[in-house]
Amino acid sequence: MTLGLLLIVAFGGALLVYLPGKISSKLRDVWAVLVALAVLLGTATFYGKSVHDALSYQFLGLPLVLRTNDLSWFFAIAISGVGSFSIIFSLSYIKNRERTDFYYSLMLLINASMLGIVFAGDLLSFYVFWEIMSWATFLLISYNRGNALPAGMKYIVMSMTGSAAYLVAALSLYAKYSTLTFSAISTQITTASPGFTSFILILGFMVFGIKNALVPFHTWLPDAHSEAPSPFSAVLSGILIKMGTYGFILFLYVLVGFHQFSQLAWKAVSLQSVLCWLGAITIVIPTFIALMQDDAKRLLAWHSIGQIGYIILGIAYGTSLGVAGGAFHVLNHATFKALLFLCVGAVEYRTGGVRDLNSLGGLMRRMPITFIGALIGAFGIIGMPLTNGFVSKWLIYKTLILNQDPFLAFAALLGTWGTLLSFYKFLHNIFLGQLPEKYKDLKKAPTSMQIPILLYSGIIVLFGVLPGIPLKIIAGFVTSFGLTPLNVNLWGIVSETGTLNTINLSMAVVSAFFAAWVVFAFSRRSVPTTAQDTYAAGASIPRDKYQYSVEFYNPLYRMMGRYLRDVVDEFYGWLARVTQMTGEIVRRLYTGDARDYVLYIVLIVAASIGLKIWWPT
């Protein structure tokens, strides 16, 4: 199987969804799942391979190259994995909605274009796939109508701004080196002036920062992620924004190279420290904004920004531990964030679209599998031992501590506290607490939803206990960037400064749990009481009026809410209004009076002649 063939299957499968869709929706579902799984299998066959195919097809006289290596494969398998899980989840989620053919077709198209991005071997094919991904994403974000429409507009306007920056960067490179292939540019750029490299990298930060939702380019994300259909939110948050991370890695480590990047500085401020601090800001502020959200999906969306901060911090830090941590966190975030979005999706599906944290509660017994999934996902994002999130966060903390960067390390820790608090709220308000009367007869999530939830949960624990499986690949590409090689084994990382051994860790955690269980099992049994006893001191409460999970963290919110405004978003909104107003003013040039128009013609003749007289050359 060649890369070209894999992409043809992916794109062809996406576009042909309409054919079986015309016959029956069952056949279409089967087709969509088969295409997604075929792409997953196809991607898997490239494990460990290094391919560099120049296509015979040229675009505007420029050669197109497809290539894969450890880095590409790592992202590709995550893409096709998240993609196919979301397709399976969609089977029941999207069943009774309109335009289902369109939905599946775009899901698969976005999947295919993301694969194209990571397999692209030159800046042009990268861009083509990137743009297809962008407009397809726009269409799918708008799918839910209503509030989704402004969210889609925000996304696409920011995304186009990024694309513009990308084209300028790519074609400036082309003007200088007359090539767009990664391999050719990376060998030639070593001689470039620092000014030129900084120019390219800053443009790159813009492009990938926007897709990656790095502060201050993050404002599209909370709207888009919360308004998109949930299985697509999983793709969006899980892997689509990671295309920005891939872009960062590509520009920093593949094209420019870390050595050159770390040299770039303006007076005492280095570009690298700017990026690290942007990462740190991205961890802290969005995480605390997330804490204040009452919409389950918005809460998750803000956390996506926060987690991206960890990834960027790790990658920008540039030690092999840091890059490995950042890259591993890409995969981990893809699993637990996708899982969390799917869990919310399942709840949304059963409750008829409710995701307001103030009106849910007590669903644990009604939807046990979903609860377990959400619990494991929350553990993952907090970074509890036994989950993969722990390992990647450990790597990032370790880097920051080893290199004695207390402020960045503190920012990273602060982010974890915020995460812990908000996921307590998340779990409690949906699954614990009181079950509202209207949800008494809620059914379990359908099987097609439980399968991806269980699979994700399994992966999170598996990579938490045996992180060596993905770390082996990560160590491979980290070494290829010219960083110090990592000594990885199945249960962690061996180094002189401290060894990570997840097996011992797991044993410790499991025995702690066992000890706690023993204590509880042999102590006096707790007596279940009704809510009246505990919270109303025996007075009777009108049923269904009483919901103690409303306005969680209210005092905290009153304290901090004022400072946690999204100033950047307000600024962009202002910018959009100014553009609109400028339009209104400029339009007045066209007065509607033919006399004015003739005057314009005479004026331009006069102005041209005048210019010639005053400015003879």
Partner: protein
């Protein structure tokens, strides 16, 4: 001699229209189709041979410096191919779309418009260019007013006033040149022009560029365009946006590059083009009337084409030409499609089209593809155009051009914003009231889809156009080469 047929066939059929009317009233609608099929075939047959060397067709037996001649170069034949392609699509569309008024007059005027356009791009004589240009303009004034409603007549009169002022300027410019050189042959003038340094020469340049600039819709000469394009019948809007303004651009480029070739002026016109782009896009953004929005978007696109051409490198001119092709195809699709959307919903306001995508899937799909292409998204042809423009602009590695490209992208983002808003309106907004659903006739959906196929095919494989663009750019930019080809 074949090149003459490109002009003779539509012109002859236009004038023969009354005769055919004696036979049957129904023939009128088929004549433009026949003429355009003929022109399309001829252009395609001619193109490979004129790629090698330009063919000179002498009319009336007098050789170039004295008589009038046609120059069938890669640019002229290529553009006539584009004119006949879009013209064919629009004439098939009009066959089903134009159901009211004096139909035979519509088709006769339409044929005149197209023969004017074809003649203007093929002629090698400056005065002849003016004559064909006037044929084009006068028939389009009449066609804008075709429906006879208040809006149409008002905009046609405005268009007429500005167009006439422009024509007057052109005529004075031509007179100055004729007085100085005693010839109207473009190649002859081009030979002698470098030997003369006179303020009058500059005046002639300004007058010609301004005059042709009115039709090319360069800011601030474009005030007629939003009115005319939005109140004309949609088939005419398509041809005006797709073809007529392109002839204006061609004339401006011919005057600038081939006749005068003054580098200082390029930068000046380039900045005008940039202003046109920015103002057009910003105005389009604040429009609610969909046809006016498309009209302003045409202004913006023209600005982009002028910008690209005035980079004045072979790459830049080639990129501008590709953008010209892309805009002609996409804007034709949009106007043709919107014609039926507006007819069905009964209003041109964008909000009246809410959710119409479900009712009229084919037309809306075509509009979305065309809109994406205009914004410059792959895999549609507009992407290739924009990519080449940016590449050409950045090729000089100058900071000035990097800043200008920044402004171009600012306009592109604004353009994207209103086109994506249109896409959301068509597909993702809930219809306020039930629109009475009537199927779009095949006479509309077939030409629209055919143009969409071109948009996608050229977007996936633009390389097929590259050799033509290259020699067309040389045709325009290489003054010495042009003189040599024409005068031997």
């Amino acid at each position: 001699m074949v090149a003459v047929l490109l002009i003779i066939v539509p012109l002859g059929l236009a004038f023969a229209m009354p005769l055919f009317n004696f036979v049957s009233k129904r023939i009128a609608a088929y004549l433009p189709i026949a003429a355009m099929v003929c022109n399309l075939i001829l252009s395609i047959l001619l193109l490979p041979s004129v790629m090698e060397n330009t063919r000179i067709v002498i009319l009336g037996g007098l050789p170039p410096p004295l008589g009038i001649h046609l120059v069938a170069g890669p640019l002229g034949v290529g553009l006539s191919g584009l004119i006949s392609l879009v013209g064919l699509a629009v004439s098939i569309y009009a066959w089903g779309y134009i159901k009211q008024g004096a139909q035979d007059k519509y088709h006769a005027l339409y044929l005149l418009l197209l023969s004017g356009a074809t003649g203007a791009v093929l002629t090698g004589d400056l005065f002849n260019l003016f004559v064909f240009y006037e044929i084009l303009c006068i028939s389009s004034y009449a066609l804008v007013a075709y429906l006879g409603d208040r809006n149409g007549v008002e905009s046609a009169v405005k268009y007429l006033i500005q167009g006439s002022v422009g024509s007057g300027l052109i005529l004075v410019g031509i007179a100055i040149l004729y007085g100085m050189f005693g010839t109207l042959n473009m190649a002859q003038i081009a030979i002698h022009i470098d030997n003369v340094d006179s303020p009058a020469l500059f005046l002639a340049l300004v007058l010609l560029v301004t005059g042709f600039g009115v039709e090319a819709a360069i800011f601030p000469l474009n005030a007629w365009l939003p009115d005319a394009h939005s109140s004309a019948p949609s088939s005419i809007s398509a041809i005006l946006s797709g073809i007529a303004i392109k002839v204006g651009i061609y004339a401006v480029a011919r005057v600038l590059f081939t006749i005068f070739g003054v580098a200082v002026v390029f930068q000046y016109v380039l900045l005008l083009g940039l202003a046109t782009l920015l103002i057009g896009e910003i105005c389009a953004f604040s429009q609610d009337n969909i046809k006016r929005m498309l009209a302003y978007s045409s202004v913006g696109q023209v600005g982009l084409i002028v910008f690209a051409m005035c980079i004045a490198t072979p790459d830049g001119v080639g990129a501008g030409l590709l953008q010209l092709v892309s805009h002609a195809l996409s804007k034709a699709v949009l106007f043709l499609g919107v014609g039926y959307l507006v007819a069905r919903s009964g209003s041109m306001s964008l909000s009246s089209l809410n959710g119409i995508g479900k009712r009229m899937p084919v037309v809306c799909f075509a509009c979305v593809v065309a809109a994406f292409s205009l914004v410059g998204l792959p895999p549609f042809v507009g992407f290739a155009g924009k990519f080449l423009i940016v590449r050409a602009a950045l090729a000089g590695k100058s900071i000035f051009f990097t800043v200008l490209i920044g402004i171009v992208f600012l306009a592109t983002v604004v353009e994207g914003a209103y086109f994506f808003r249109m896409v959301q309106t068509l597909y993702f907004k809930d219809a306020k009231r039930q629109i009475e659903y009537k199927k779009v006739p095949a006479s509309a959906s077939i030409p629209i889809m055919a143009l969409v196929v071109f948009i996608v095919a050229l977007g996936v494989y633009p390389d097929v156009l590259l050799p033509y663009l290259k020699s067309a750019a040389a045709d325009l930019l290489n003054k010495a080469g042009y003189i040599k080809e024409v005068l031997g």
